[in-house]
Amino acid sequence: MLITCPYCGPRGVIEFTYQGDGNRERPDPASQNFEAWNAYVYDRLNPAGDHNEIWQHSGGCRAHLRVVRNTLTHEISSVAFVRGDHGSAARRKAEDKA
């Protein structure tokens, strides 16, 4: 399986660390809503099909990526920095052509 890191290009899955379900929302740090905390820590979407998930390119640039990947076929339909574009992402294109 290859994930196309917006910075590093396509890399083997061995370079990445899976950080799971990307739909979870961390409650406000001071929140006392324990249902929300529990859901954040323990409950996961686990769809058969497209899944919105977080990966870290731990064996590369170490950026965290939001990846939409099909859990039935392993096909990846989108990859983006979780943090948003760093300004350097678009610059990948220059080399893709080379």
Partner: protein
């Protein structure tokens, strides 16, 4: 009633050219309603049906299997059976399973080839050896067999193992459970299926559940590819497919992730290793099948997947760890690899409970330890379904334990399923 299997029946049939053997289980069409529907014709679902009939006299039961019987993890695992856990809740449960295993071939009149050849966990540092001692002592304090082995004893048991001190991770000792071992995985599914069938359970293959029939919150049956089927109780035992099936019931999130686990077998070899062995400085386990193939595996691939298909990094990792222990196997060849879908829970322990909806019963979260649990899982799940309350053995394995902070985390990894 079908014939008992025995050496005599084999001989008698052989003399008749094996023409009189009957199907191991019937192929009935689904009825309109049952007392209990069990979704999932894998080991756990079939065992549940068997024990419902045998222990609780509930025989108006259907097991619904979307594909062929035993097509899930019961037919895709590395066949190890053991009860060498650290935490008491797990040890008690798996030890109950072990006891059921010990009588299973007789009970089912089906040889599941349960071979108590032992399971050895290798330790590679003194600290790890102490960890295993802690675990072994925990087992002993619950009446479960466990012993420590020295490198010399280990070498006698497994001559091909590299115990040299210049190994990258030398073996300093190991934890052995002698009563652990292996069983023939498919036979477990077939044996339970035949046993349940003989007690009147309908096993319905190629019948995919497509939705739940509801009366308000209450689950009253299922819709399937072979029509609607009603039931007073609907039990879910679908392991890797838990997420999908619960979504059909409108439950979107669960403390479960489905991950792919690969397993491997070599070409057939003359007896090479007489026990189940695990590596302590990574994740590798191996035994040898009666046919002679070395059956082995390692970690899950580490991402959500329903594909029953893994990728190369784990293949490479598992083989590397294998050769770290058995350098003589470099020229032996991997014959086949396959993948199973594991229902990884948030603490590495299972869920066997009534609910979460009225009329529904849930059995999941087996991570990759489900095969050895098969008898106890079916036994306690049947109890829970029949009595609407858990047995002492599955009482800790609730669904709400995560939220309450009552996790049973044998590996201490927290809510990180890929690490359990």
């Amino acid at each position: 009633m079908m014939a008992e299997y025995s050496a005599f029946s084999l001989l008698a049939n052989a003399l008749k050219g094996n023409k009189d053997w009957k199907p191991a289980w019937r192929k009935p069409d689904p009825k309109a309603s049952y007392d209990v529907i069990i979704i999932g014709g894998g080991g756990h679902g079939l065992a549940t049906a068997y024990y419902l009939a045998k222990e609780h006299g509930i025989t108006n039961v259907a097991v619904l299997e979307k594909s062929w019987l035993g097509s899930g993890n019961v037919g895709r695992n590395t066949t190890a059976v053991r009860s060498n856990y650290l935490l008491p809740a797990n040890t008690r449960f798996y030890e109950h399973s072990m006891k059921l295993w010990e009588g299973l071939s007789h009970e089912l009149n089906y040889n599941v080839m349960f071979s108590q050849r032992g399971c050895l966990n290798l330790a590679h540092t003194p600290a790890q050896f102490d960890d295993y001692a802690r675990r072994g002592n925990a087992m002993r304090h619950l009446g479960v067999d466990a012993e420590l082995m020295t490198p010399a004893e280990i070498k006698r048991l497994i001559p091909a193992l590299d115990i040299s001190s210049d190994a990258r991770f030398p073996v300093v000792g190991g934890l052995m459970q002698r009563r652990a071992g292996t069983a023939r995985h498919d036979a477990v599914a077939w044996g339970y299926a035949r046993g349940a069938d003989r007690r009147g359970v309908d096993i319905i293959e190629n019948c995919e559940v497509t939705g739940f029939l509801r009366d308000g919150d209450r689950v009253t049956g299922v819709t399937t590819s072979r029509g609607d089927i009603r039931a007073r109780k609907v039990a879910v035992a679908v392991a890797g497919s838990t997420g999908r099936v619960m979504q059909l019931a409108g439950i979107a999130t669960m403390p479960i992730e489905s991950h792919v686990l690969q397993a491997f077998v070599t070409e057939s070899l003359k007896p090479f290793i007489d026990t189940v062995v695990t590596f302590g400085m990574g994740h590798f386990y191996m035994s040898q099948s009666d046919k002679g193939g070395l059956v082995y595996g390692g970690d899950i691939d580490g991402y959500n997947s329903y594909a029953q298909r893994g990728n190369l990094p784990i293949v490479d990792e598992v083989m590397s760890e294998m050769l770290a222990l058995f350098p003589g196997l470099a020229r032996v060849r991997m014959l086949r690899s396959w993948g199973g879908v594991c229902d990884m829970s948030m603490d590495g322990s299972p869920i066997i409970t009534a609910g979460p909806l009225p009329g529904m019963y849930l059995n999941c979260g087996w991570c990759y330890g489900g095969f050895k649990a098969t008898p106890a899982s079916g036994w306690t799940f049947a109890w829970t379904i029949a009595k609407d309350e858990p047995h002492e053995f599955n009482a800790p394995f609730t669904l709400d334990r995560f939220h309450r902070g009552l996790v049973i985390d044998d590996k201490g990894q927290g809510a990180n399923p890929r690490l359990h």
